[in-house]
């Protein structure tokens, strides 16, 4: 037995993703894809009892409407997308029971940039190179979902415990976003003043941002001699370097434009990476909205490893607690269903 869901309205860019995505093909220029905010994504899977690698839905800025053709347990996490089930508001960050025929609608996001919908059992989709993730720009694993697209999921709506993420473990999506960075391979291409300015000012998130790059607007930075007195094959601009691999999370300096490279970013190129957003902080970049600001704090690599440890600890049942009694609305409708 399996159930299915159907996209009624697609939203702005709704995709199927899995974590950690299509890993192992970076040398061929194929990005891992996967969720832009891995923390919220993984918590959504945890809430419905899925394995960490289960496929689920990412929505961006404007969420989709989805009809469930069978009952399921679902969870919505990430940015506040004001979800409703048959037009009744439902809570995020907790397990919800959905009955066959119900329509889940997610709206314009009030906070954050992306929200996640996990369905118990995970969405079924053919593996491409070991992953169900979608790289929309490369039409890899399909593209953004369209009205009429449907996905099956295993029927596992039985005896799932209804849980929620405890308040202390729900991440914040503030409009002034503090983000940790470590130094990158080209840290010494900036001079002291350049580094200090980078770390001192709030960087504004540009509207020209997507899963391939989050662009930042800010002041001009100054460079060290290393960036200027270099072999000509590096290129004429201080930010030019002989083409080199890009770390995911790298803060790439392209002339005067700064781009944080997320999970769908380019694998290599001819621009410097003086800083890197570590894996434990990259989820914050995935929730940054145009017009918001990011301030960077420099941490050593060992602290970045601890940050990742902290994130892994958060994606565990220790972050969950039993959900409150069912809301009057859902118990009433259940009574109604059984009363006949």
């Amino acid at each position: 037995m399996s159930g299915s869901l159907e996209i009624v309205k697609p939203g702005l860019q709704t995709t199927v993703q899995d974590f950690p995505g299509r890993v192992g093909f970076w040398r061929f220029g194929i990005p891992p894809s996967g969720p832009m905010d891995a923390l919220a994504f993984r918590l959504a899977n945890l809430l419905v009892g899925n394995e960490d690698g289960a496929a689920a839905i990412e929505m961006q800025f404007v969420g989709p409407s989805i009809r469930f053709r069978a009952g399921a347990h679902i969870a919505i996490t990430g940015g506040d997308c004001a979800p409703t089930l048959d037009e009744q508001p439902v809570a995020q960050w907790q397990t919800i029971e959905v009955r066959a025929g119900q329509i889940l609608s997610c709206s314009v996001m009030g906070t954050g940039a992306r929200a996640y919908l996990a369905v118990s059992g995970g969405l079924e989709k053919p593996l491409l190179m070991g992953s169900r993730a979608t790289f929309p720009r490369g039409e890899m694993g399909g593209g953004a979902l369209k009205a009429g697209d449907s996905f099956e999921f295993p029927d596992s709506s039985g005896d799932l415990r209804l849980v929620r993420v405890s308040q202390a473990c729900i991440p914040d999506y503030p409009s002034e976003i503090p983000v940790a960075v470590t130094r990158g391979p080209h840290f010494d291409w900036l001079d002291d003043a350049g580094r200090e300015t980078f770390l001192a000012v709030p960087w504004k998130v540009s509207g020209q941002s997507d899963r391939t790059g989050i662009r930042l607007v800010g002041p001009k930075l100054s460079f060290s001699r290393r960036a200027v007195e270099k072999a000509p094959e590096n290129g004429p601009d201080p930010t030019n370097v002989i083409n080199t691999g890009y770390p995911i999370g790298g803060v790439n300096f392209c002339g005067e434009t700064l781009i944080v490279l997320p999970v769908d970013g380019p694998s290599q190129g001819g621009f410097i990476t003086p800083f890197v957003v570590p894996s434990g902080a990259l989820w914050k970049i995935g929730q940054a909205r145009p017009g918001q600001t990011i301030s960077f704090q420099l941490i050593p690599v060992n602290e970045a490893i601890n940050l990742r440890r902290g994130l892994e600890a958060l994606v565990s049942t220790a972050s969950l607690e039993p959900a409150k009694e069912e809301s009057p609305e859902s118990s009433r409708s259940l009574n109604g269903a059984f009363g006949k």
């Binding site: 890993v23 192992g24 093909f25 970076w26 040398r27 061929f28 220029g29 194929i30 990005p31 491409l128 190179m129 790289f135 490369g138 039409e139 890899m140 694993g141 470590t182 130094r183 990158g184 391979p185 840290f187 010494d188 002291d192 580094r195 200090e196 770390l199 270099k230 072999a231 094959e233 002989i242 083409n243 080199t244 691999g245 890009y246 770390p247 995911i248 999370g249 790298g250 380019p266 694998s267 290599q268 190129g269 990476t273 890197v276 957003v277 570590p278 894996s279 434990g280 420099l298 941490i299 050593p300 690599v301 060992n302 970045a304 490893i305 940050l307 990742r308 440890r309 892994e312």
Partner: protein, 316 residues
Amino acid sequence: MVSDAVAMESPEPGFDGASPGLIEGLRFLPAGDRFVLLELGQHMELPLNLRAIQLADRLLEEKVPGLIETLPMFISVLVHYDSLVLTPERLRDLVRRAWRDLLDESDIVVPSRLIEIPVHYLDPWTKDCVEDYARNIQPIEYNPSYVAKINGLSGPEELAKLHSSTQHWVGGVGFWAGVPDMLPLDPRCRLSIPKYNPPRLWTVQGAIGVGGGFTSIYPIESPGGYYLIGRTPVPIYSVDTRLPAFRERATLFQPGDRIKFRRISFEEYEAIAAEAAAGAYRYLIWDYDLFSLSRYQAWTKGLQVNGDAAPEGDEA
């Protein structure tokens, strides 16, 4: 504020793997909690690229838990690892051992596939792209004429001959999925070309572009900055896993490949394009070859002794 603990001017020789360090000329540059960039030198030289490809492969050979993947480029290797499984310190030891082993070897020999790519040089489609740019962005010369002129060639015909008379070395792959960065192996076929400024808004899929000293192929329709000299009818990127060449992954090329462009006519282009669209095209790939730096260097030395004339016809 930049604290002393993280400030750095040059890598330290005694280092823990979480900070930058130097291993016999190789710069070990941590980049967050899951990447390290290994820089093999400062200059664009084929031997460094070969070392990078070799080092990237050697590191993966032992299948060390926590070492996820490596990405070789011209003079660097990006290492992707899981620092909760493999500590930076142990990664440093691994890199040190692999690098020292390589330095002990007198020659550099890497596996290198030879792949034939059919190209219709001086084609009508890339001409359209260029004319579109000239109409909508700014005036620009017919690209093959311009590239020929600034490289002292008689015209587009000589350019096409020169470009198809050498094997092209794939120094790295990426930016976009499957894009090859290629350099001519025959030093007599080197070109020097600027890039579009501002870039083109669109380029046909399969366009052959030249920029700097490189040749590349546009895997999908996209913006671009390279001068366009031809077009291939065969895909170099496809998510159609029914095609044998793309069964394992969506991209054709890998670092260390050699590409031979075969000149084809307009009619051949159309025939091969139809074959490719039907999923019936079979790539010519010779995948048993090894590339030896010492033998390559001996060959290029011989070329200089025999004079500088460009090779005739379509021979490698």
